[in-house]
């Protein structure tokens, strides 16, 4: 069993891994860049070590530093979380060579599936249908033009390494191509340290359905059913749910078996996700294997009752899977919304800044996986995800209503977030009807603004707090018994900070 684990990540997923470690009695060490010094996971971990400057290459992507730190603190394993080094085979190999357990597949399997181009080749050989497109990395402008001659527009530029939509660009005509490839390369280089990109046919209004798989080191492979992740902006998921409203039982069975075949063909172990695109005629294509714990893993945990991070740690410790396929029967429906620091009124532009006050929702069936707190400064250096809100209900409709209620009680003051937008997505008649496809946001939510009534009420509230409201002031002055309240009536949290 792993004795001491180093968590090579940040934000909410670092917090999530800390929790799993505590439950298993594993000691854990957090790492942070200088700007993340007062972050939540740094406070929660048994110990934390600063590993460098804010740019990811100098800290969270700095393999030398991370391996060196692991050895220095005497940890025997590394959990890479998602993003950063999670799917980097060189890093997994460095761990193997240093005798450190990498919580994930072997470097060999990672090299195969973590590289999307290599994965496409493998799946094609195993007889699994892949999305039409390039099966080698594009080097020269000519490579891309040749591929397009066969595929036709629109196409997607995709980064060969990594995921999360980084480096991805849709190209609808010739004149966008060079810029899109260049931008994709830059983004990929920044996020994953590798600029390889390739092209794939872009399938409009498809469903993005993925299957969670667990595989131990003794050849047992089970799937934990699907997640529907079609609601995306900038090719990044915003709302996820399970089960998928798009699947029939027959399709679900078939895709589950293909998912297991994909994992076996790649010699893959630990937790992984097999992503498929489902077109409007119910054809499904292998998209990629996400060789990591996924951001949206909690919805599977809520419906199957299986703790995925715990399973990851057990598998990495060399334990046998005790789950059987027949024994996994999901119950009810779960929905996750990602809470991003971004402005939905201006094309989801990032909105870093200080969270002046935070109130996370509660209630039956509600779970919040958060990496932030009141007073936390959201930095522009990293991904805009702040937290995830997940709701479980016996039916899709109950889960939907629960998560809307929870979003309405979610308060983040100081920075702009996607919360108001998410409520309107979940209340949209097309979402209610289960018509979730990858163009949902561009098609149904274009030009989104908060409604006028909400704006009117907020303007009135702003005027009230600005007014010398004698009654309110007096009430507060009378209650001002703690040093916090003495800071001032509405200036709390903004005064001396």
């Amino acid at each position: 069993m792993i004795r001491k684990l180093l968590i090579a990540n940040r934000g909410e997923i670092a917090v999530r891994i800390i929790r799993a470690c505590r439950e298993l009695g594993i000691q854990m060490v957090g790492v942070y860049s200088t700007i993340d010094k007062s972050s939540l996971w740094v406070r929660l971990a048994d110990e934390s070590v600063c590993i460098g400057e804010p740019p990811p290459g100098e800290s969270y992507l700095n393999m030398d530093r991370i391996i060196e730190t692991t050895q220095k603190v005497g940890a025997d394993a590394i959990h890479p979380g998602y993003g950063f080094l999670a799917e980097n085979p060189d890093f997994a190999q460095r761990c193997e060579e240093a005798g450190i357990t990498f919580v994930g597949p072997t470097s060999k399997a990672l090299r195969l599936v973590g590289d999307k181009v290599a994965a496409r080749q493998t799946m094609q050989r195993a007889g699994i249908s892949i999305i039409p497109g390039m099966t080698v990395v594009g080097k020269k402008a000519e490579d891309f033009r040749q591929a397009i001659a066969k595929l036709g527009y629109p196409v997607l530029v995709k980064a060969s390494l990594g995921g999360g939509g980084k480096g991805m660009r849709i190209v609808r005509d010739e004149k966008e191509l060079d810029m899109a490839v260049a931008a994709g390369r830059r983004e990929a280089k920044f996020a994953f340290g590798d600029e390889s990109v390739y092209l794939e046919k872009y399938i409009e209004e498809s469903h993005h359905v993925e299957f969670q798989v667990l595989a131990d080191e003794f050849g047992r492979v089970v799937h934990l059913f699907e997640r529907e992740c079609s609601i995306q902006r900038r090719y990044q998921k915003v709302v996820e749910e399970t089960p998928s409203p798009a699947l029939t039982d027959e399709l679900r069975r078939e895709m589950g078996e293909v998912a297991k075949l994909a994992i076996k063909s790649a010699g893959y172990t630990n937790a992984g996700t097999v992503e498929f695109l489902l077109d409007q005629e119910d054809n499904f294509f292998f998209l990629e294997i996400n060789a990591r714990i996924q951001v949206e893993h909690p919805i599977t945990e809520l419906t199957t009752g299986i703790d995925l991070v715990r399973q990851q740690l057990l598998i990495a410790s060399g334990e046998r899977l005790t789950l059987s396929q027949e024994g996994i029967s999901p119950r009810g429906h779960a929905i996750e919304t990602r809470i991003y620091a971004e402005d939905p009124t201006s094309d989801f532009l990032p909105s870093p800044g200080k969270i002046r006050w935070l109130k996370e929702p509660q209630g039956p069936g509600i779970r919040v996986d958060s990496g932030v707190y009141s007073g936390y400064e959201v930095t522009p250096h990293y991904d805009p995800i702040l937290a995830k809100l997940i709701a479980w209900g016996k039916t899709r409709e109950i889960a939907r209503r629960r998560i809307i209620q929870a979003l309405k009680g979610y308060v983040i003051l100081g920075i702009t977030t996607s919360i108001g937008f998410l409520i309107d997505v979940l209340e949209h008649s097309q979402f209610v009807a289960g018509k979730t496809h990858t163009n949902f946001i561009s098609k149904n939510m274009k030009g989104w603004r908060p409604n006028d009534q909400a704006l009117t009420e907020a303007l009135i509230a702003a005027a009230i707090v600005s007014s010398e409201a004698p009654a309110a002031t007096k009430v507060l002055a009378a209650q001002a018994t703690s040093p916090w309240q003495e800071l001032g009536k509405w200036e709390m949290g903004s005064g001396g900070i």
């Binding site: 810029m179 931008a183 830059r186 983004e187 920044f190 996020a191 620091a341 201006s346 989801f348 532009l349 990032p350 909105s351 870093p352 800044g353 002046r356 006050w357 109130k359 522009p380 250096h381 990293y382 991904d383 805009p384 979003l407 309405k408 308060v411 983040i412 003051l413 100081g414 920075i415 702009t416 919360i419 108001g420 409520i423 908060p450 409604n451 909400a454 009117t456 009420e457 907020a458 303007l459 009135i460 509230a461 702003a462 005027a463 009230i464 707090v465 600005s466 007014s467 409201a469 009654a471 309110a472 009430v475 507060l476 209650q479 916090w484 009536k489 509405w490 200036e491 949290g493 903004s494």
Partner: protein, 167 residues
């Protein structure tokens, strides 16, 4: 009567507050005054009724802003006067002579330099934050007067990056 001017999404709203007995009369722009009663207030939380309907708002003020959240919808209002004081260059943004970053971030690419001729819609620079790139495009046909930052610099929201001269 007190008038507040709040800026939201580039638009200014005039909110007039008139104290009455046990309540306020509040109007927005030239709309009808609404009767607003305070129900309770505690730090960060404010309950009031409007036309008999109870509303709970989470609120705080600071840095010339009012942060309000009602039913999950949140707003950051800037007081108009502080906006004018803090960023005089912004006025020119609409005029097309100054191109600013729409978000805080890092200048990852500067594609023009002083003296360059630029066309409408031409990409002048690229700002990146949270791994998302944003292209700053020229709103006019003209000549680059000055680029105020270098690649790698950190920039603030609404900070002028490129100054242009129309031709």
């Amino acid at each position: 009567m007190v008038e507040y001017r709040f800026v939201y999404a580039g638009k200014t709203y005039r909110v007039n507050v008139e104290a009455a007995t046990g309540s306020w009369l509040i109007s927005i722009d030239d709309g009808e005054p609404l009767e607003v009663k305070l129900i309770s207030s505690s730090p960060y939380c404010l309950s009031f009724s409007m036309g008999g309907r109870p509303i709970t708002a989470y609120a705080l003020q600071g840095d010339g802003r009012r942060y309000i959240s009602i039913d999950g919808e949140s707003f950051s209002f800037e007081l108009e006067k502080s906006r004018a004081r803090r960023a005089p260059g912004v006025a020119a943004q609409g005029g097309g002579n100054v191109v600013s970053s729409p978000m805080p971030g890092f200048l990852v690419k500067v594609l023009v330099s002083g003296g360059d001729k630029v066309e409408v819609g031409q990409t002048l620079a690229i700002v990146e934050a949270m791994k998302m790139e944003n292209e700053l495009k020229s709103p006019i046909k003209g000549i680059v007067k000055r680029v105020k930052f270098e690649e790698g610099n950190q920039v603030d929201a609404l900070q002028p990056i490129v100054e242009l001269e129309a031709v």
